[in-house]
Amino acid sequence: MVKAAVKKNGRKSKAARFTKSFLLRLGFYFLLCALSFIFLYPFITMIVKSLMTDDDLYNITVKWLPSQATWSNYDIAFRRMRFKAYVWNNVIVCGLSTLGHVISCSLTGYAFARYKFRLKNALFMLVILMMIVPVQVIIFPLYKQYSDWGWLNSFLPLIVPTFFAMGLNGGFFIFLFRQFFMGLPYEMEEAARVDGCGPIRTYARIMLPMAQAPLLVCGVLSLVWHWNDYFEPGVYINNPDYRMLPSVLPNLYSLLNQENHTMIQVNDLEGIVFNEAMLMAATFLCIIPIMIAYLILQRRFMEGVERSGLTGM
């Protein structure tokens, strides 16, 4: 059968073959562009809407390009959501909890990958369980616990668990590091041990520098997930001074819905009606910092993904 195919191909002229491969390639790019359009759609809508004026918003003929772009929406959104104050909360919490995940999950993953010890399988089942049990199941006991410790209305419940390899998707990161360390050759550690290098130094000086790929993947994913998380911060934090950016958004959205429902347009101090465009601007402002961070790390992140050695569980 294969032979027949080769023969058939051979008989075709060079030009025909070229056209065929060209068409295939064209179709391939068309498919990719269509798919990436779907992926970018919410993002594009958000940006376009955020630039619209009040008139454009209610004009059905204006779907994509606003008749005139206004930047004032961003200005209003910026002040309305107290961006400057909250963005630092986000940066502090996300930075510290990402650091926590990177340190603690790599340690744990290393132990599971490279050591034999009693109860290993039972403990690893616990890691799998960590991946499967959603935080919603234990949210009340956690809430109660933190409130007993006096941790509510602070960043502690969000940051401290990550230093103990718990927190948002901790199990997933442990798993990631375990997979990576399992793929490394044992000779490295043996050589270090023969030379009298202690286990912790072996880990810090030899294994960790080799683990740049999963460190980066863990770091980026942890950063992005923490940045966007609003369930846990929403539960633990009520004090407006300690809010995180994504937890400000629900308030803004409810403000908009309220105004739409009652049709009473409540002007605030500045005499501005809060509209959808401003909301979109606020939403976009929320993700700008994390987007910049991702765009900077993007290339190395993808390289890290490729080298994280996830095959061969």
């Binding site: 992926f39 744990t108 132990a111 499967i132 006991p141 103990f164 994913l221 991702y294 569980m313």
Partner: protein
């Protein structure tokens, strides 16, 4: 370490090599073990106890055992639980396979060498940046979905005249679902990419020499080699859909817990909900186990 047998005190520091290694492992595990006890095992214990009891006093959380009352209430009295729960189950059962297929296809597409590789890879990760959380929820709620594919393809008007409104509605619903699924498959695509990169190129070269087509290579090499990732992705996807911010059940649990303050009931409900997710995951693992490729790297 105390020396148990003084007669052997010639070598007091000698431990069995296995025990020593075991001890080293536990040094590495200390932070995680503390974390699991404080932030995972104990809350789970409290939560299970709560679901079988009634809170008598909040101070010190004194509870009274009431048996299965909370669960009875869930299944026989609560009119909100079952419809929401079934909706979520239905969505998960449909979305998970769709998500797997699409993310695998996309991962294979962008794994090739081509122009604009960096752009496409960023594009497919953008929904993850937009968040699994509130932002996506609102964009969906504002009717952003649905228009996406239909404006892209532009056939429904013509075809809907031909096949009638009922079938059009089904097709439309399906397209909407795909859009939503695609937006939520960023992480899965990344994981599949990692898996595809892990397959040794020499396998493909050997197959090519033997005259295999790309189609054959996909079924005989790619798919068997990434079965571990498929399994991991499936579990991840099920859990992600179950805990997603757009999920009505999550909202309901949060409402019962923190707005209605029925903590016992909330705990019972979340356990029913979780046990179902667990059953789904276990089913996946059991079904896939026979087919998962084992590289022999396990030790």
């Amino acid at each position: 370490m105390t020396v148990k047998n003084p007669g052997l005190s010639r070598k007091p520091r000698r431990m069995g090599i296995d025990r020593k290694r075991s001890l080293e492992a536990y040094i590495f595990l200390i932070p995680w073990l503390i974390g699991v006890c404080l932030f995972f095992a104990y809350p789970i214990f409290v939560s299970i106890r709560l679901s079988f009891s009634k809170i008598v006093s909040f101070k010190g959380l004194i509870t009274e055992w009431v048996g299965l009352t909370n669960f009875e209430y869930i299944f026989f009295y609560d009119i909100n639980f079952m419809p929401t729960f079934l909706q979520v189950v239905y969505d998960t059962l449909l979305n998970t396979p769709l998500c797997m297929v699409f993310s695998l296809v996309i991962a294979i597409l962008i794994n090739r060498k081509m122009v604009g590789r960096g752009f496409f890879r960023t594009a497919f990760f953008i929904p993850v940046l937009l968040g699994s959380g509130y932002i996506m929820k609102q964009l969906l709620g504002m009717g952003v979905d649905g228009t996406t594919i239909t404006t892209g393809i532009m056939v429904p008007k013509l075809i809907s005249d031909l096949i009638g409104p009922s079938i059009t509605a089904v097709v439309q619903g399906f397209l909407d679902r795909i859009t939503v699924v695609l937006w939520k498959s960023g992480v899965q695509i990344v994981l599949f990419l990692a898996g595809l990169q892990g397959i040794s190129g020499s396998l493909y070269e050997a197959a090519k020499v033997d005259g295999a087509t790309e189609w054959e290579m996909f079924w005989k090499i790619t798919l068997p080699m990434i079965t571990p990732i498929i399994l991991m992705n499936m579990v991840y996807t099920i859990v992600a859909f179950f805990t997603d911010g757009t999920n009505p059940m999550v909202d309901y649990i949060k409402k019962v817990n923190f707005t209605n303050q029925q903590y016992e009931y909330g705990a019972a409900m979340s356990w029913v909900y979780f046990v179902f997710a667990l059953i789904l995951c276990l089913m996946c693992i059991l079904l896939m186990r026979r087919h998962v490729y084992d590289s022999g790297a396990k030790n």
